[in-house]
Symmetry: C2
């Protein structure tokens, strides 16, 4: 029997945990605070910002937004980041990306204090993911996948996890996080031979390939857990993932739908990181 | 038919390449120089130092050694590193480890300029391995494995590579390097189920498990490439790898022997990194 792993159920239990922590902080008169820095007025940025603001508001997290013109200078952006770094009221900073092309991406990204880097923008956070050390924070999207596994009680130890995609934003970090949970991890990509066979071997399949509905029955088996990170638009202009959900139903997989799956957990993970950052910065247990 | 992948053959061709680069540098009156920093008089350190010095001498690379007492203070070590960082004559620095327990390992290791970090001691080098960017240098041992693959013309693209071991020194970097060569990479470890089966699935098997002769016929198949990073001592006090070489012969694998395999290529890789560091620091092509 197929089963959907629903983001809203994961979010509900995550939010309960977050509110407990917010409560602990409130007793110390600390209110966790996220600052979102947005450059220009791209629709996708505005939409993500709105989602994050709404989530923060529901969870009693302060959310400040800082808007900069589309042609802001690198110097000005760096000074905004510097102020946020030094502001003790701000616990987490989210800089919406990509950055304007005329900027030195590496320099700007690493200007942020890793302690406030709630979505793995700095090298220090990325290194933390690779080494398993707690410097900065892991990226929200693969972390959302881990939260889904946790919520549904899916133990990774000894299991075969297959990741399709090797980006630094999702694929590689996801592989390291699954490895940290003691899965035997295989990383597949565009050069992989017999990809269908590799995918079928997975107990846990995490797909971040970015190709609409590419994962059909040939990649799936009964009882397989499928985490779909893909966000694509199909021919009819509708949102769809990398997974063909009809095929997942037929195969009897346990899968995250799109919409309503991994993506819907991401802003809760972001909020969880802000609260965790506030706890670390104020030495609160 | 089984075949041994011999370190000395790889070293010979690597050395030819290194001498060509040394020659290019010599025309600019630059002599590549490695500084080895050794704390105390541990036998394994002295032996590694001797090997590296001999290799450097054969390759016309200057090798300076800096010996510190077993109870040197962290401050003194940091000042030695600082001097090496600022010395334009020194292109690469090798600090023999482990460090004394009373030192702040992370602080000391990251005091070295990544540009001179010829054996992946700093976070910057490690991050370079993870991201595929050229910051610092990859660790010499997994790099030696890549040199062996290159020398014997073994193309990784699309092949299944299985790494047994997930340490930050060998396993994880080796997995990233094989991924960079477009292999489909699986990382196995002590919690992996059906390890023998996973290993048999590999076209290229890289073993860094640290258990003498654990890889027997059940892990192997005809024509499989086996890179053995293990350095163990058997019951008779003799050096042996993680691979049972008799089993590899019977199975018809292409394998690196111990001794005479991966380990014997490591100091040449170190020398290659010193020369590469000298070329980068002097803008020589």
């Amino acid at each position: 029997m197929a089963q959907q792993l629903l983001g809203k159920e994961v979010t509900a239990s995550l939010n309960t945990r977050i509110l407990e922590q917010v409560d602990i902080l409130a007793r110390k008169k600390i209110r966790p605070c996220l600052e979102i820095i947005r450059i220009g007025d791209q629709e996708s940025d505005i939409s993500y910002e709105k989602g994050a603001m709404k989530r923060c508001s529901l969870l009693q997290i302060e959310c400040r937004t800082f808007h900069l013109g589309a042609e802001v200078s690198q110097e000005e952006l760096l000074s905004v980041i510097d102020i946020a770094n030094r502001d003790e009221q701000v616990h987490g900073v989210l800089l919406l990306r990509p950055l304007p092309k005329y900027m030195d991406r590496h320099l700007v990204e690493n200007a942020l204090d890793p302690a406030k880097d709630v979505d793995c923008m700095t090298d220090a956070s990325l290194l933390g993911v690779f080494t398993g050390k707690q410097t900065g924070f892991p990226p929200c999207t693969p972390q959302a996948c881990m939260e889904i596994l946790d919520h549904y009680g899916i133990d990774c130890t000894g299991k075969r996890a297959v990741v399709i995609g090797r980006s630094l934003v999702v694929g590689k970090p996801a592989a390291m996080m699954l490895l940290g949970r003691n899965a035997t991890v295989t990383i597949c990509h565009t050069k992989t031979e017999n990809l269908e066979e590799r995918a079928r071997e997975a107990d846990i399949l995490l797909v971040c390939a970015g190709r609409a509905k590419m994962i059909d029955e040939k990649y799936l088996h009964q009882g397989q857990v499928v985490l779909d990170v893909g966000i694509n638009v199909n021919e009819e202009g509708k949102l769809c993932g990398d997974l063909d959900m009809e095929a997942a139903e037929k195969a009897g997989a346990l899968y995250t739908p799109v919409p309503g799956g991994v993506g819907s957990v991401t802003t809760s993970v972001l909020a969880a990181h802000v609260v965790e950052a506030a706890m670390r910065q104020t030495n609160t247990d």
